[in-house]
Amino acid sequence: MSLTVVKGLQSEIFVPVTPPPVWTPVTKKISEMTVAIATAAGVHHKDDKRFNLAGDFTWRRVLDTMPSSELMVTHGGYDNGDVVKDINCMFPIDRLHELAAEGFIKAVAPVHCCFMGGGGNQEKFRNETGPEIAKVLKEEGVDAVIMTAG
């Protein structure tokens, strides 16, 4: 018996909807992967334009050649205390380089993608920023992406 008596009923109250799953199967071993980081933590280079704390759908490119000591965070949505002490808390770039050196992963991607989560124009994020970042990572031959957010 179907539990739905009347089809198509909709709540008048806005409720969060979990979208249907998306899934790309893993085909490579970890030791054969070129890994990139994508983060919503608001990471960027010190010389780069800061994010707008009121909400910002733009993103910043962090080149793998940028030393982690030259990276910083603009994000008003979480306590920045730890990440100011050590950027690796949200952007574990030094750890990735160590893993590449010991052969755990094949390589670290030449570019990483950073944006500021926790607000901003979600439609822009979904339809512009997201696909744009995905395209860049694809073009750079990235095999896997580690994200920090939420």
Binding site: P16, T18, P19, P20, P21, V22, W23, T24, P25, V26, K29, I30, M33, V35, A38, A40, A41, Y78, D79, N80, G81, D82, V83, K85, D86, N88, C89, M90, F91, P92, D94, R95, L96, E98, L99, F104, I105, F115, G117, F125, R126, T129, G130, P131, I133, A134, K135, L137, K138, V142, D143, A144, V145, I146, M147, T148, A149, G150
Partner: protein
Amino acid sequence: MQRAIEQIGIPTIIIAALPPVVKQTGTPRAVAPLVPMGANAGAPNNVEQQTAIVKATLQQLVEIDVPGKIVPLPFEYQAKV
């Protein structure tokens, strides 16, 4: 964002401090160490813990076989505020 990257054909995994939130947004794969927001990849300057979290994350990237699965990780950091 994770979904957009996954859609173009790159497998992804998210390190989450707030697993219910990433579940809601439809994550394909996630791990959840016991960390506060802002130190998802481990405590500041704790190289050992950060390495362990990143390694376990990559292992779960390969092991998770069902979309939407969130695997708890046995690493804990409590920020002293």
